[in-house]
């Protein structure tokens, strides 16, 4: 057995190469990867195991392999699950539309301006996410300018027709939740876009101009394809956290905008139905991972980190 396992890895390779194993990278990796294994990978296993247990918090849980909890979770909470995916997908598209021009603008600046604008993009991070989301409650409040203006130009009527708001105010609506998600994850969209646009070789754009390409053609055939890695990274960094977020839906939404994160939080921490909450959490993870894998395959990008 021992001789077999010693022969197998080197089969078809010169044995001399195995002698030169460098241990330095493994020593460098060990503490960090061990931390991630114990506190990220193992919890995924305990999460899956928790979902298949029965019992209650006071008397403890026993593993029964109760798969029915997944059926129950999907049956009761599919609207919240679908809503979370829909809201975060919409917010991702909006963030791309808003973020691309700014990323392009910053990448085309020179010297100090570029750095100052980049600092302004990450500056919102320095004030707590929650405080800034609360600020939107003020900004969108009924008697302030944005809401009044929206009513004056019948934007609020349009929102009601589109079923994005239930009354003539901007706050406590689907519209507010999607705006909040878009705003909160916008820097995650802009930074990767900036990185790939900044690397863009200006000579390619000049060449396109020399060959009489219109600006639209230059964008379609050069700028956009070369910025795709940034688009993929930015959309993932926006979509994934937005799908699990429930701060925006709680602070800016109403009872009709409850997202899946809010359900998981309530089931874990207030209802104390651990198996159901764990099942929902696991479903969310699998759903997002499969969407992300399909998307990355389609976009054909491998190097994300």
């Amino acid at each position: 057995m021992s001789s077999g396992s010693a022969v197998l890895p080197s089969a078809g390779r010169p044995p001399a190469r195995r002698a030169r194993v460098n241990w330095v990278p493994y020593a460098l990796l060990l503490p960090g990867l061990l931390w991630l294994f114990v506190f990220f990978v193992v919890p995924m296993i305990t999460l899956a195991s928790q979902s298949l247990q029965e019992g209650d918090v006071d008397n403890g849980y026993t593993f029964t392999g109760n798969v029915a909890v997944y059926g129950q979770a999907l049956q009761n909470y599919w609207p919240q699950l679908l809503r979370s995916i829909g809201y975060s997908a919409t917010a991702t598209v909006l963030a791309l539309l808003l973020g691309y021009p700014l990323a392009y603008f910053i990448a085309s600046r020179r010297g100090a301006w570029k750095n100052i604008l980049l600092v302004l993009v990450i500056a919102p991070f320095f004030t707590s996410f929650l405080i800034r989301t609360l600020a939107w409650q003020t900004i969108l409040a009924d008697d302030y300018l944005p809401a009044r203006f929206a009513r004056a130009i019948h934007f609020t009527d349009l929102l009601q027709v589109l079923n994005l708001s239930e009354n003539s105010s901007l706050l406590s609506s689907k519209f507010a939740v999607i705006c909040g998600l878009t705003y909160n994850f916008l820097p995650f969209m802009i930074l990767p876009l900036f990185t790939s646009l900044d690397r863009l070789d200006g000579r390619l754009l000049e060449a396109a101009r020399d060959l009489y390409a219109t600006p639209r053609e230059t964008f379609r055939h050069i700028t956009w394809p070369l910025s795709l890695p940034g688009v993929v990274a930015g959309t993932l960094l926006t979509f994934i956290p937005a799908a699990g977020d429930y701060i925006n839906s709680k602070l800016l939404g109403n009872t009709q905008t409850v997202m899946i994160g809010q359900v998981i939080d309530a089931q874990f921490l207030r209802v104390l139905n651990y198996p159901l909450a764990a099942a929902l959490s696991f479903v969310l993870l699998v759903l997002i991972l499969s969407l992300v894998t399909a998307y990355v395959r389609r976009a054909g990008t491998e190097e994300l980190v």
């Binding site: 919890p43 603008f105 320095f126 802009i190």
Partner: protein
């Protein structure tokens, strides 16, 4: 036509920048408000009361202190672990590279609510209690990946000839690392540490799953306040954090600019 197009781009960029910064302006403005009720959502009149008494509401400064302690510790540990991983990835060819990349990428591709709840199930399964230590463990976990990404970019862009030159001039590997490699990678490490601190300081969702009633972080305090009434002091803290951090980042940039000019 080109003029219109160029200015259309500028206008679109400015709209996005306006949306990004508007909440910060509102937060700062309402730090000078004197609200009538418990909620600080309506402008009433100018006042500096909250600035004179920043710890004026019970619990706010305790929560701030806890968040700062957790943030500093988490960013130090995550920066150390992450930098080591980044050097391994940026410098060495080894088996298991793809697995390492995947393990680093996964925490960034997992919604916070899943990470927070799964960690809670780990602590429940092990019979461990939640609280400040659990929060610290969680924060280090999700910060490591971001540090790796920040430092790896810097390590990969290093000019290997600089280290070879040091070695040719008789520097030991350790001296080369301390005098040549580390100073060159330092901006990446600093960026990673700053990012880790702000992620930790700002986290609500993961923290909430692993907290206990005696470990209320600042974001948890703000969340509670949003249900009970928002004291103006929250805006004061938000504004001070904003001004301090932007100041630190701009000063760091000025220093590095003047250094590159000298060189």
């Amino acid at each position: 036509m080109a003029w219109v197009r160029r200015h259309l781009l500028t206008a679109a960029a400015m709209v996005t920048l306006f949306i990004l910064l508007l909440p910060n302006v509102v937060v700062a403005l309402f730090a000078f408000n004197k609200p009538n009720g418990r909620y600080n959502y309506q402008w009433v009149r100018f006042s500096t009361d909250a600035w004179a008494n920043p710890c004026g509401t019970p619990g706010i400064c305790d929560s701030l202190g806890l968040s700062l302690r957790i943030g500093v510790t988490a960013s130090l540990v995550a920066t150390l672990l992450g930098t080591m991983v980044a050097f391994a990835l940026g410098r060495f060819r080894f088996r298991g590279r793809a697995t390492t990349n995947l393990l680093i990428f996964m925490p960034m591709a997992t919604p916070e609510v899943v990470m927070g709840s799964s960690l809670l199930t780990l602590f429940v399964a092990m019979g461990l209690s939640t609280g400040a230590l659990a929060i610290l463990i969680a924060h280090i976990m999700f910060c490591v990946s971001f540090v790796v990404v920040a430092v790896k970019a810097r390590v990969a862009s290093l000019d290997p000839r600089l280290e070879e030159a040091a070695a040719d001039l008789g520097a030991t590997p350790l001296a080369t690392f301390i005098k040549v490699t580390l100073p060159l990678v330092a901006p990446g490490i600093a960026a990673g540490a700053l990012l880790a601190f702000s992620l930790s300081f700002d986290d609500y969702i993961i923290t909430n799953f692993n907290a206990s009633p005696s470990s209320i972080t600042f974001p948890m305090y703000v969340w509670g306040a949003a249900q009970r009434g928002t004291p103006v002091q929250i805006n004061v803290v938000g504004t001070v954090m904003f001004v301090l951090s932007v100041g630190i980042v701009l000063t760091a940039q000025l220093i590095s600019r003047s250094r590159t000019k000298k060189a």
